[in-house]
Each structure stands twice: as structure tokens, then as C-alpha cells.
């Protein structure tokens, strides 16, 4: 059945500015000497002698902009109007889980007793934060099937490295120094980078024809020099690793540890748990599954949860009670790998995520995942006539299609499809990832888009395919309605201009 796409709140959003498509001046170009926005309070503190620091005093003030507050507000408001966002429309960016970010969480972040607290305040004066951390740790552990967790890692990639350093410390505690960590060829690019930075060597296990880890090949790769494996499940193709228990048995058979990359947790909350699958270390991307806003590329939060026998290695300190929950304090595990953040992690992001979990509750979080998977499967089926689906089995929360046939027939590539979709008022899917699929378009609708929005998105993609067959040049010239059109990225890389001053030179 087709849903009406005339009322698609997540689609048809105009990404073009309200008026015009001229360049916006930089804040420095808007600057005029002696113009000002600032106002500073009168402190009644007397002016003190600068003598003690005379040797270090700068000659000229830092060349910061000098703008009126009115011009400042206009500038950043115009910049905001030149940016697509989840609040504006659907954002089917595969692997990124760009779901709606509820507004009440903004109010949580603004609570005085949370946002205006110094991180070095003694434990007696931060009982609320310690309780909140302890509660979030309980939620994260119950959802992932783990025992204890650190909330410090400020992003998923930081969580990966933290988990791998725990893996390293575990082996060292047993007097072993295995060097290899197994990673599937479909893994996120951060996985092999994290493996290198943790002092291991990444060993790639290929995917079979069904898009899943090739168990026979894995058995050949794994030996006493294997420290562990990093897996995303469902994997980056949106497929559940059906032989997960067998895979992890192979790893555990050589005393290796299994790391779960939680990037795709949105598919299975309340349905299945990494701990039950046999994983030992799990990071969760709270900014994906638990709806904290992505902020244009951060802040995120990537807590790392572990099974009980690894808890001793967690970064410290952790919020713990020594009196059965009457009061809380900071405790550092005995064999901790040490801090991974200057303070306690992205605390306010952590508070937002816990608020989201509490709003949905146990059953609501399961429904969230079920509808994310429903949306992905429905859209995948809806697009089956337009694009070859990369793998036949049902998908989880995202799926990958290939524009290889379209490219062969019309010359229109996955990239062109993505750019053309921008003109229809949608954000583009992820393209050219995972690397194992040619001309990949990786689509993750999330649970917060309505069937009407999915219909509108599918129609837009169908129209692009139809246009490609009729007038490929028109597709390749898109987008046309956006604030700027396709960019000369080679020019940017050949002669990098990274600041205003590099342009002026």
C-alpha cells in the first residue's frame, strides 16, 4: 500500500534560505573597529599592578571580531538558516541514527543544579549527580546485559579505545600479550583505528555472500595471538549476525574477549542483549539510540559497560555507595586503566540520555526499536523496484542498497542520488559505506519518521531514478535549490584555507 505523502512532516522541508542565495560574510568581514556587543559587570576590585607578569604581556590585543550584538545575532541566525537538521526534516543517514531529539531533554540540560555545577565539587555537595550517574549505569547495564560501566568516554570512538585498553589490561593481568584483534571487513572505520591506538594489530575477517561474518574463515584466523574481536551487531549492513554465539565461542576458546560496538543498538533494545550473546565489553552511543542531539558533530557520549570479571579494569572514578544507597561517593577500581576524560565525561549529555530512557520506560524502549526495524524493512521493500537491495534477508534498523546498476545504465552514481535527494528536502543517506557494497546507499529512517514521510522519501528516490533514465545530466547537476551547489573539494584540499588569515595572505 502507498501512504499519502501530502502530509509528511519529516519531508519536503526546504533547505534553502528564506531569501536569496548570496554568500554570508564571515564574522570578521562584519567587523568594524570599536564596535561592540560585550558588557561586563562592575566587580569593585581595584586595578592591580601588572609588574609580576610584565615579561609576558602581549603587545596587541587578540584580533577578535568587533561587531554589534544586532549584527552578531543576524549573522548566526542566517548561518542557522543555511543548515539542515533533524528539527527541519528527515535525516536517513545510515549508521548515525538521526532520530528526533525530544525538547524536554533540553529543559533537563538547563536545570541549574545540573548545568552549573563545578566538576571538582566534593562528593558531599554533588549527591544528585552521583545518584544520577549510578542510575544511568544501572540502565546501561540492564539494556546491554553487562555488570558495571564507566560513563567517561565522550564519544563512540573514545568508548572503543577505552574498551580495547581494558582488553589489553585484562590480558596483561594474566601475563599474556596477544597482538591481534579481529574486525569484519564491514566495520566502521574507527574500529581499525582504535585497534592500532590500543597497540594491537587489526586482522580483517571477510563477510560471506550473505553479508555476515564467514565463520570458517574466522576459525582459520583465530589463534593464541588473538586478543579479541570487535563486532557491530546488527552489522553495518543492517543484518543480524545469526551465528553470533558460535563466533564468540571461537574467540573465547583462545581466551579472547568480545567487544560489542553499540553503534547499531537502536535495532534491539529490549529485544536482545549483547551480554546474552556472549559479549564482554559494550559501548553505547547515547547520542544515537537515546536521542541526545548530535550538535552538528558532537557532543556525544559513549559509556563502556563490561562483564563482572572486567569491572576491576574500568576507568575511575565511578559513583558508588558504601552504605546501601543512603549516600554516594567516588571510587576508583583497583586495577583501573586510568581516566579517559579530564572530568566525568559529557555529564549533561548523560543526563539527557537518562531522561529519555525514563520517559520511554522499559516497554517504550522496546517499541522504539521495533518501530525502527519496521520502518527500515518497509522502506527497503518500498524501494525494491528502484534499487538492488544488497542482501536478501530481512534487515534490522537500516539497510544498504546499491546504485551500481543505475550507474551502469545511466552514469548516475550513488553520490548523485544523494545530492539529488537534497533538492527534494531530505538529508542524504550515507554513501559509499560499508565498503563491501559497490555504490552503496545506506539508509536508516529511524522510528521517529511517519509512514507518510517514508512514502515521500521513497517517491523522491523513485523520481530521481526515473529522471536518471530520462535526463542523467539533470540529476548530475543537482542540487540546485540549496544555499550553495556542489563544491570544488579538490581545490579545498590542494590549497587549504583553514582560517580567515590564510585567505588574506
Amino acid at each position: 500500500m502507498r501512504f499519502s505523502s501530502t502530509s509528511a512532516p519529516g519531508g519536503r522541508a526546504s533547505s534553502a534560505p528564506l531569501v536569496g542565495d548570496a554568500e554570508e560574510p564571515t564574522i570578521f568581514e562584519l567587523s568594524a573597529p570599536s564596535r561592540r556587543s560585550f558588557s561586563l559587570r562592575e566587580t569593585d576590585v581595584p586595578a592591580m599592578d601588572l609588574g609580576p607578569i610584565e615579561a609576558w604581556l602581549r603587545d596587541e590585543p587578540v584580533e577578535l571580531p568587533e561587531v554589534s550584538e544586532r549584527d552578531l545575532v543576524a549573522h548566526f541566525t542566517r548561518l542557522a538558516s543555511r543548515n539542515y537538521s533533524v528539527d527541519l526534516g528527515a535525516y536517513p543517514l545510515g549508521s548515525c541514527t538521526m532520530k528526533y531529539n525530544p525538547k524536554f531533554a533540553d529543559q533537563v540540560a538547563a536545570i541549574d543544579g545540573l548545568t552549573n555545577v563545578h566538576p571538582a565539587t566534593p562528593p558531599e555537595a554533588i549527591q544528585g549527580w552521583l545518584r544520577l550517574f549510578h542510575e544511568l549505569e544501572r540502565y546501561v547495564c540492564e539494556i546491554t546485559g553487562m555488570a558495571q560501566a564507566t560513563l567517561q568516554p565522550p564519544a563512540g570512538a573514545s568508548g572503543e579505545l577505552t574498551g580495547l585498553l581494558i582488553m589489553r589490561a585484562y590480558h596483561a593481568s594474566r601475563g599474556r600479550t596477544p597482538r591481534k584483534v579481529v574486525i569484519p571487513d564491514s566495520a566502521h572505520g574507527t574500529n581499525p583505528a582504535s585497534v592500532s591506538l590500543a597497540g594491537f594489530q587489526a586482522v580483517t575477517v571477510p563477510s560471506g555472500a550473505n553479508g555476515l561474518v564467514d565463520l570458517a574463515k574466522l576459525r582459520e584466523l583465530v589463534d593464541d595471538d588473538t586478543a579479541g574481536i570487535m563486532l557491530t551487531n546488527p552489522n553495518t549492513l543492517g543484518l543480524f549476525e545469526e551465528e553470533i554465539r558460535e563466533i564468540l565461542e571461537v574467540i573465547h576458546g583462545v581466551d579472547g574477549l568480545a567487544y560489542y560496538d553499540g553503534a547499531n543498538l537502536n535495532a534491539i533494545v529490549g529485544v536482545a542483549r549483547p551480554g546474552d550473546m556472549g559479549f564482554d565489553i559494550v559501548h553505547s552511543n547515547l547520542h544515537k539510540t537515546f536521542a541526545t542531539p548530535h550538535g552538528g558533530g558532537g557532543p556525544g557520549a559513549g559509556p563502556v559497560a563490561v562483564v563482572e570479571h572486567l569491572a576491576d579494569f574500568l576507568p575511575g572514578p565511578l559513583a558508588r555507595s558504601l552504605d546501601g544507597g543512603t549516600s554516594y561517593t567516588w571510587m576508583t577500581p583497583r586495577r583501573s586503566i586510568g581516566r579517559v576524560h579530564a572530568f566525568h565525561g559529557n555529564s549533561v549529555v548523560l543526563a539527557r540520555a537518562l531522561a529519555f530512557m525514563k520517559y520511554l520506560g522499559n516497554e517504550g524502549m522496546r517499541t522504539m526499536s521495533e518501530l525502527a526495524v519496521l520502518n527500515a524493512n518497509w522502506l527497503r521493500a518500498r524501494l525494491a523496484d528502484s534499487f538492488a537491495v544488497a542482501y536478501e534477508q530481512p534487515c534490522m534498523h537500516e539497510f544498504v542498497v546499491s546504485a551500481e546498476a543505475l550507474k551502469a545504465e545511466t552514469g548516475v552514481r550513488a553520490l548523485d542520488v544523494a545530492k539529488a535527494l537534497l533538492d527534494s528536502g531530505f538529508h542524504a543517506p550515507t554513501v559509499y559505506f560499508p565498503l563491501v557494497v559497490h555504490e552503496a546507499l545506506m539508509i536508516e529512517p529511524t522510528e521517529t519518521e511517519s509512514p507518510q514521510t517514508l512514502e515521500a522519501m521513497a517517491s523522491a528516490l523513485e523520481n530521481i531514478v526515473a529522471m536518471a533514465h530520462k535526463d542523467a545530466a539533470a540529476v548530475v547537476s543537482m542540487p540546485r535549490n540549496t544555499p550553495v551547489r556542489r563544491l570544488d573539494e579538490a581545490l579545498a584540499a590542494r590549497r587549504p584555507i583553514l582560517t580567515e588569515d590564510q585567505r588574506l595572505r
Binding site: 560585550f38 592591580m48 543548515n83 539542515y84 573514545s158 550538535g295 579517559v340 520506560g361 551547489r485
Partner: protein, 445 residues
């Protein structure tokens, strides 16, 4: 069921029917039955948004917030500044808050241009030609700087001043376990600044990857960066400076002293205290290191109609392309905080930032003068806004007692329970400083 999914029951049934399914459970047919949960998660049921808000307000009520509960004299990379209404308003625009990494520059010019402006501000502040679009926090920036220095020099011996923030040093040790760093400490002199050896004392020294100093350091001392530069040069090492950005409103930039890489915590540039995060890792370097820089870089280019436009550039450095050869695994950064810093610094402007720095200096030196009057002389000789005093009783005990007077009395450096590191920002009025000194006098009488 509470959820932010818009589906009606009828729509769910219709979508399932389109897929030839009769229940949502069927969607999970590829998961082995033994792994499927039959019980709900052992977590409470849903709550309305007002109930959640009230619960979180209750958490907040159990914390002592600065200003409403405590007058704050603690810093250490987290400072209590006055924030502009403009940054609160503009920094919370949903187009910035709910966007993601600018993978499609045609619809991300707002974030990209704001980051280009941020990079320019940080480069000018640190006195270096290039800056990245931010990292997680000050500690992460330092770790990435060291990885970059090791990548460039191929030397794993790293000399770290004992004046560098203790948490940053700890993080360096944590991550250094994976990258096999050989961390050596350079001790401090009695005035809390680093004791740099003279050239005569160092005729034959082993090569090193980096020398790291604070500017000012954790204890407040403004370091002799020329001496640090010389020490690095004798070892073929890069000079990495961990700078307090606000100090640079008055002090010469580390770039002027020849620093190769300057990192720092950008929380001071318009970010609330936030119990330690999200903060803003600052990172600037000399141009020759551009292809080794961690994190995202935004560059200027042209679109196909010849209009100026901005784009993430030099991405071949990044882990999504180089994978296991990458020297950094950083994917996201702290874009929203970087945009907020660009807004706040533009609001302060050239003169406002200079005036603000001067008020931090005046406040701290006034406090030092007053504390000296009650017998607590600063051990730090050359300082900007933060300095150290030696306490006659346990500093932890003193900090505890001062809470009862409504003051957060500074930081107790790990391993030094006889010291307090105190700070004054432009937010502290003379009457608050005088009240603090009176309360300290009472407790130490």
C-alpha cells in the same frame, strides 16, 4: 506506548501487512530464538515528561550549584564565567543542535562556516596558523597532540611538566599504554613553575618526541616558554603547550614563543560548567603539520557557481579512509561547543576579551594580596588568574569546612593535601572575595 514514533496502530498493522507479517516479533526472525528476550527489561515503566523533569529537578536539588548555592573559587580547567545572553540563545538554535557532522556541505554551510570562524579565532588566540574544528576536551587534545608529535618525530619519549593538569597527565598515561609512550616528569620549582635545566646541565640528552608544559600551569604559574622551547630543541622534540585561552587576553601567545602545537580546554569560552562536560578541546599547530592534524578541518573553497563555500577538507588523514593506518580514531568532535565559543568570543570581541582577561588578573591578584594578609601567602610568583597557597591544615578538611560558609574554596591537587589552587574570574565581586578571605581567616584562626 509512549514513544516519539508517530505510528498509529492501524499504520503499524498496514506496514506489517505490506511486509507479509502479522506481528512486530516477526521482524526479528533472523535472531536466534535463544537470544530473544521474553521478559521486559528490569527497568521502570514510562513516565510523562513533567514527571521526568521533576525527577531531574530533584537530582539537581541535591547538588550545590555555583552562584545559587556556592561562591566558586575553583578552576583547574573548569571556570565560572558570566555567559552572554547571545551565546545562550544563538548556541541553542535547533539548526545547530540537531544537525550532524557536515557530510553534505550543500546543506551544512551554517555549521561549516561557524567552524571556519572558530578555527580562525583559535588560531589567532594561540598565535599559530591553523586550528582544527575541536576535539572532546583539553585532555583529549593533549593526547592527540602527543600522538601527532610521536608520528612526526618517531620518538616515544615524552617529557611532561609536573605542572600539567593531573587529570590530563593521567589520561596521557591511560592512552599511552596503547601507544607505548615513555612518560618522564619534569619537576616543579618552589614557585610552582617548571624547573627547566640549563643548557650547561644538558650536554648529552636522549632524543624525545615532545616537551609538554602548561601556560599557565595547573598551579597557576606562568611558564618560561623560551626555556621550554630550548629544552625541546636540545632533544629534537616538539614543544606542546597546554594553554588557558583566557590568559591569552593578556599574555603573549605560545605561538610567539615557538610552540609547535598548542592545546587547551575551551570551556572558558562560553560553555557552562556542566559538571565537567560537554567541554571543548582546542588544538592549533604550525602549518607544516597540517596533514598530521587530528580531528576535522574545515576549509574554504568555491561551489560550481563560483560562490565562496566551506567544506570538511584533507579527509584522507581521517580514520574513515586510512583505517588501521590512522594516527587518530577521532570521529565526532564537540561542534556545538565550538560554535558556541565562536559566538561568545565574537560577543566579547577584541576589547571585551582583553578587559575580561584583565579583570581575571586583577581579581586573582587582589585575592592573593588579601590571603597574604591572613598568613596564606601564594607560593606562585608569576600568575594570571589562578595560584596556589599552602594550607596549615588538611586542604581537603579546609575545603569541607568552607562549603559550610557557602564557598567552593579551590582545588586540592592530587597528592598534595596541604595545598589549595584558587582562581578568580570576572564573575567574582570584591564583596565575595572579601567574604571568602574572612571565612578562611575564621577557619584557620
Amino acid at each position: 506506548m509512549p514513544s516519539f514514533a508517530p505510528h498509529t496502530d492501524e499504520e503499524i498493522q498496514q506496514m506489517l501487512a505490506d511486509l507479509g507479517m502479522s506481528s512486530l516479533q516477526e521482524l526479528y526472525s533472523s535472531i536466534p530464538a535463544a537470544l530473544l528476550r521474553t521478559e521486559p527489561l528490569a527497568l521502570p515503566p514510562d513516565q510523562s515528561e513533567i514527571e521526568v523533569l521533576e525527577e531531574f529537578a530533584a537530582y539537581g536539588a541535591q547538588n550545590a550549584a555555583v552562584r545559587s548555592s556556592l561562591v566558586n573559587f575553583a578552576g583547574g580547567g573548569a571556570y565560572d564565567h558570566d555567559l552572554s545572553a547571545a551565546v545562550r540563545h544563538l548556541g541553542s538554535q535547533s539548526a545547530f543542535v540537531t544537525a550532524y557532522t557536515p557530510y553534505q556541505p550543500e546543506v551544512a554551510q551554517g555549521v561549516l562556516q561557524a567552524l571556519f570562524e572558530f578555527q580562525t579565532i583559535i588560531a589567532r588566540l594561540f598565535g599559530l596558523p591553523i586550528a582544527n574544528a575541536s576535539l572532546y576536551d583539553g585532555a583529549a587534545s593533549l593526547v592527540e597532540a602527543v600522538n601527532m608529535a610521536v608520528g612526526f618525530t618517531k620518538e616515544r619519549r615524552i617529557l611532561v611538566s609536573a605542572g600539567v593538569h593531573p587529570s590530563y597527565r593521567e589520561a596521557l598515561g591511560t592512552f599511552g599504554a596503547g601507544t607505548h609512550l615513555l612518560l618522564e616528569t619534569i619537576d616543579l620549582c618552589d614557585d610552582d613553575s617548571t624547573c627547566f635545566p640549563s643548557a650547561d646541565e644538558e650536554t648529552e640528552v636522549p632524543r624525545a618526541g615532545a616537551v609538554i608544559v602548561g601556560y599557565p600551569n595547573y598551579f597557576g604559574a606562568i611558564e618560561d616558554l623560551a626555556a621550554a622551547r630550548a629544552m625541546a630543541d636540545r632533544r629534537g622534540a616538539l614543544l606542546i603547550v597546554v594553554a588557558d585561552p583566557v590568559a591569552l587576553g593578556l599574555l603573549r601567545s605560545p605561538g610567539e614563543f615557538g610552540a609547535d602545537i598548542v592545546v587547551g580546554e575551551g570551556q572558558s569560552l562560553g560553555i557552562p560548567l556542566s559538571f565537567g562536560g560537554p567541554y571543548l578541546g582546542l588544538f592549533a599547530a604550525k602549518s607544516e603539520y597540517v596533514r598530521l592534524m587530528p580531528g576535522r578541518l574545515v576549509g574554504e573553497t568555491l561551489d560550481q557557481e563560483g560562490r565562496r563555500a566551506f567544506v570538511t577538507t584533507l579527509r584522507t588523514r581521517e580514520q574513515d579512509i586510512r583505517r588501521e593506518k590512522a594516527t587518530s580514531n577521532v570521529c565526532t568532535n564537540q561542534t556545538l561547543m565550538a560554535i558556541q565559543a565562536a559566538i561568545h568570543m565574537s560577543w566579547l570581541g577584541k576589547r571585551g576579551f582583553q578587559m575580561l582577561a584583565r579583570r581575571n588578573y586583577d581579581g586573582a591578584h587582589y585575592l592573593a594580596q588579601q590571603l597574604a594578609g591572613i598568613g596564606l601567602a601564594a607560593s606562585t610568583t608569576h600568575f594570571f588568574r589562578e595560584f596556589t597557597v599552602h594550607t596549615p591544615i588538611s586542604a581537603t578538611e579546609l575545603q569541607h569546612r568552607m562549603l559550610a560558609h557557602g564557598f567552593l574554596a579551590g582545588l586540592v591537587p592530587p597528592g598534595h593535601d596541604d595545598r589549595l589552587v584558587v582562581v578568580v574570574t570576572e564573575a567574582r565581586r570584591r564583596v565575595e572575595i572579601d567574604g571568602f578571605v574572612d571565612a578562611m581567616a575564621k577557619e584557620l584562626r
